[in-house]
């Protein structure tokens, strides 16, 4: 608490609150708007922020239930949103589990062992993670196209290809977990190894239980990143029933036929769980995002 206080402090506090509230209104307007539109009739944007003609049509369609209008016509759901969401969740679950598995073992070796090529490979990982996957999409496409000729579940238009391709992005997570491992004192494992545990046992029974929190964080981080992945999925997936949400959602706002209301419901439905998960875990996620990638 500062001891010396200027006199105009109350005025300045009021000003700060006002400007923050004003800024927040501006920032949150799009999000509130979408929630409002999802409950509004029709696919055009007119009306007030609190819907006048309240309707659950868009929500029913987003949940895949055909909706009967008051004039008797039945509207079919335009897109399989729940299927897309399930595809996204499926891919994200498997790939983030694999990512946690791969990055934990690597981080253990990087944090606790000395071996040839450790420094260069850590630095190399930092450099290579900055190269965006969009630029090597041609090569990735060629790779999976050819792999698919021999291994069916790894071809173009399979979720297997998408999952496997996401395993390239482990560098960030390795750095995060490595940082956490280094903050744990090694003497516990040393004691275990003096008592006859192997390196693997020391890792599995001593270090791993201690680092569950960071593994959860990495899992959630990888999960969110996988849900939001767009470029790879847009090239690797073709059929409508195979798409992930990130690729499928844009079809609502095709240039010639905008389904604004339907999109709003689908967006809230699929965006809300991810947003809430992010906010609940924000403390750890943000720690990982800001400190893990680059240690300043």
């Amino acid at each position: 608490m500062a001891m010396v206080q200027p006199r105009s402090i109350r005025l300045r506090k009021l000003g700060a609150h006002l400007s923050l509230c004003g800024f927040l209104t501006l920032i949150l307007f799009p999000l509130l708007l979408v929630i409002s539109i999802s409950f509004r009739e029709g696919n055009f944007a007119t009306g007030s922020l609190i819907p006048e003609n309240f309707s659950l049509e868009h929500w029913a369609l987003a949940l895949g239930i055909p909706w009967e209008r008051t004039d008797g016509s039945v509207v079919q759901p335009p897109f399989p949103v729940l299927l897309w969401l399930w595809n996204s969740v499926k891919v994200a679950l498997v790939s983030s589990l694999l990512i946690v598995l791969l990055s934990t073992t690597s981080a253990y070796a990087f944090a606790r062992m000395r071996f040839a090529g450790k420094g260069p490979s850590l630095k190399g990982m930092l450099i290579f993670q900055m190269f965006p996957a969009v630029l090597s999409l041609v090569a990735l496409y060629a790779l999976f196209d050819r792999l698919g000729q021999f291994v069916g579940w790894l071809g173009i238009n399979t979720h297997g290809a998408l999952i496997v391709a996401s395993l390239g992005a482990v560098a960030l997570h390795i750095w995060t977990i490595k940082g956490y491992f280094e903050s744990i004192d090694g003497s516990l494992e040393e004691a275990a190894m003096v008592d006859g545990a192997s390196a693997w046992q020391a890792f599995r029974y001593i270090l791993l239980p201690l680092s569950l929190p960071i593994l959860m964080v990495v899992f959630i981080l990888a999960f969110v990143m996988s849900i939001m992945e767009y470029p790879m999925a847009s090239v690797l997936l073709v059929d409508e029933h195979k798409l992930t949400l990130a690729v499928g959602a844009q079809q609502y706002l095709a240039d010639h036929n905008q389904r604004w209301g339907n999109f709003a419901a689908a967006a809230v439905l699929s965006g809300l769980p991810i947003t809430v998960a992010f906010l609940i875990c924000q403390r750890w996620i943000i720690g990982g995002l800001t400190a893990g990638g680059v240690k300043g």
């Binding site: 799009p30 000395r114 090597s136 041609v138 190894m193 390196a199 470029p231 990130a246 709003a264």
Partner: protein, 537 residues
């Protein structure tokens, strides 16, 4: 430092615990299985003429076998899966892309030379010098076709006719069994040598009525020669159009041309200079790079996009930093109450998945029924065309990206501001410094140094912010007069993506060349970042 080196290099004894013994053997079996699977892939790639991919998986399999069989490389076993993943899905695609940039790999030069050759050799044409006139005869079960050779069947004047004569073996009359001329789609019907069926042939107008069904007929002689309908009165044999010569060239029977494989351009070229598509990819050296810098139709848009990419990334970093920094300073003010709530609400844009919020903005900025234009129209009576005017589209992108990106800066700045000693502000207050003095004389200079590597990472990220462009504008409005798909709001990455995956002429070679240029830029940024961040490993 604590290490687990002690157990390395010592002979490993047979474990006392059966469970451990079995798990060791299970692990060994698993590794052997994976190695075998990889080697099978190597063989498959090799047999299908994909030497690069065979080599890739050979290296992978060998590395796997070596790392998991030598006790000296015990520590490397832990990092092998992650390193292999990066090698396969980050480093290999990168190198492969650089490789493609020196070739003319594109939708017209896609298949390998062998595949192109076999595709050409399977093409057929109708040899019209050996036609058959035909008549239809009605029977109870349908109609019968009777074909009779027309014109001279004697001296072969060209190769096509010679082949037809050989396949016909001098037979001049064929008939079919009764067939029902109905239904859609191609039908294969056997014909055999035979005389004229009994009865009167159908009149011409009835033949015309059955024309569609007749056109779908493929008649096959006992020797396998196929005949199809030409005109209303004739059938003609289908012959292989190209004949492979011993010197690797192809002979075009229909047009009497000799096609030679041109390994400079990757096409078969006729005597007349005409190129036969499809072609195969060949190395073209630096042609793609030369095109980027010398071809005015490519160079113009490329430079325009290049400048915009830098401006976009730079301005994004600037705007997000400004907003984030001011908000962070405000939220660190200990007189302010409700900071936790403000903080949570302020990072909401970061918590919403980007692909959803970008699409929300796409709908809101819609020129005809978007909320933003409705409000602007009501307040000022203007309806800006956000998606068709280049400068408005660019402003829109910056607005949306600032919305998306400021929470990250806010979080970074808040973390860094917390580490500034409070007595500095105390001293400033004693000396009569106001909030602005504090902001620019104390806070900013103290956090800018640790912030720099993060700003560079942010710049690199936005330099390649493909998702924003792809979902919001798709690069539109287009640059006029560009020979490749290029838009005024395209970043280099989305430009590359469009050259490679949109449009009919997917030019992978050119896209890879631009990608390689971006790789060089990104590598420079990454090294700069590493140096500034002073990463210790």
């Amino acid at each position: 430092m604590y290490t687990t080196n002690a157990s390395r290099g010592l002979p490993r004894h047979r474990s006392r615990y059966p469970a451990e013994r079995y798990s060791r053997w299970a692990l060994r079996a698993l590794v052997a299985l994976v190695v075998l699977a990889t080697l099978w892939l190597v063989l498959a790639f090799h047999l299908h003429g994909q030497p690069i991919f065979a080599l890739l998986f050979l290296m992978l399999g060998v590395a796997l076998g070596v790392v998991f069989s030598r006790r000296r490389l015990m520590s490397h076993r832990y990092i092998f899966p992650a390193v292999a993943g990066m090698a396969l899905f980050v480093i290999f695609p990168l190198l492969y892309t650089v490789g493609i940039s020196f070739s003319n790999y594109s939708s017209s030069n896609l298949l390998s030379e062998e595949r192109v050759r076999s595709q050409l050799l399977s093409r057929t044409y109708q040899e019209e010098s050996a036609t058959f006139g035909f008549q239809l005869y009605r029977t109870e079960a349908g109609v019968r076709l009777f074909l009779e050779r027309e014109g001279d069947s004697g001296e072969a004047v060209d190769a096509g006719k010679a082949q037809a004569e050989a396949a016909l073996r001098g037979v001049t009359r064929f008939t079919t069994g009764p067939i029902a001329l109905e239904g859609e789609g191609q039908r294969h019907v056997q014909i055999h040598p035979g005389g004229e069926p009994a009865g009167e042939p159908l009149a011409m107008r009835e033949v015309i009525a059955k024309r569609d069904a007749l056109q779908n007929l493929v008649l096959t002689t006992p020797d396998g020669l196929e005949l199809r309908m030409v005109g209303l009165r004739h059938f003609a044999p289908m012959l292989d159009r190209y004949e492979a010569r011993d010197d690797g060239s192809l002979y075009d029977r229909r047009d009497d041309l000799l096609l030679t494989a041109d390994h400079e351009t990757g096409f078969f070229v006729a005597d007349t200079g005409e190129r036969i598509t499809p072609g195969w990819p060949v190395a073209v050296g630096l042609d793609n790079y030369a095109n980027i810098f010398l071809d005015p139709d490519i160079r113009g848009p490329f430079i325009q996009i290049f400048v915009w990419t830098f401006a976009f990334a730079g301005l994004t970093v600037l705007f997000t930093l400004m907003v984030g920094f001011v908000l962070a300073s405000l939220l660190q003010w200990d007189q302010l109450r409700g900071k936790a709530l403000y903080r949570t609400l302020l990072i909401l844009p970061y918590a919403v998945p980007a692909f959803i919020s970008i699409l929300i903005f796409k709908g809101m900025f819609n020129q005809h029924f978007g909320e933003i234009n409705l409000i602007l129209d009501a307040l000022f009576g203007v309806r800006p065309s956000w998606f068709t005017d280049p400068w408005l589209a660019r402003s829109m992108l910056l607005i949306v990206n600032t919305w998306l990106g400021y929470p990250y800066m806010l979080l970074l700045c808040m973390g860094l501001i917390q580490s500034i000693p409070k007595d500095l502000y105390e001293a400033s207050a004693v000396d009569g410094g106001g909030p602005l003095t504090n902001l620019f004389q104390i806070t900013l200079p103290l956090i800018i140094k640790p912030l720099t590597p993060l700003l560079i990472a942010c710049f690199a990220f936005n330099f390649n912010n493909f998702v924003l462009i792809a979902l919001l504008t798709g690069g539109n409005p287009d640059i006029l007069g560009a020979s490749t798909p290029a838009g005024t709001t395209d970043l280099l990455v989305s430009y590359t993506y469009r050259i490679a995956f949109q449009d009919a002429g997917q030019n992978f070679g050119l896209a890879a060349a631009i990608a390689t240029l971006i790789f060089v830029l990104v590598a420079g940024l990454a090294l700069l970042n590493l140096r500034l961040a002073k990463v210790r490993v």
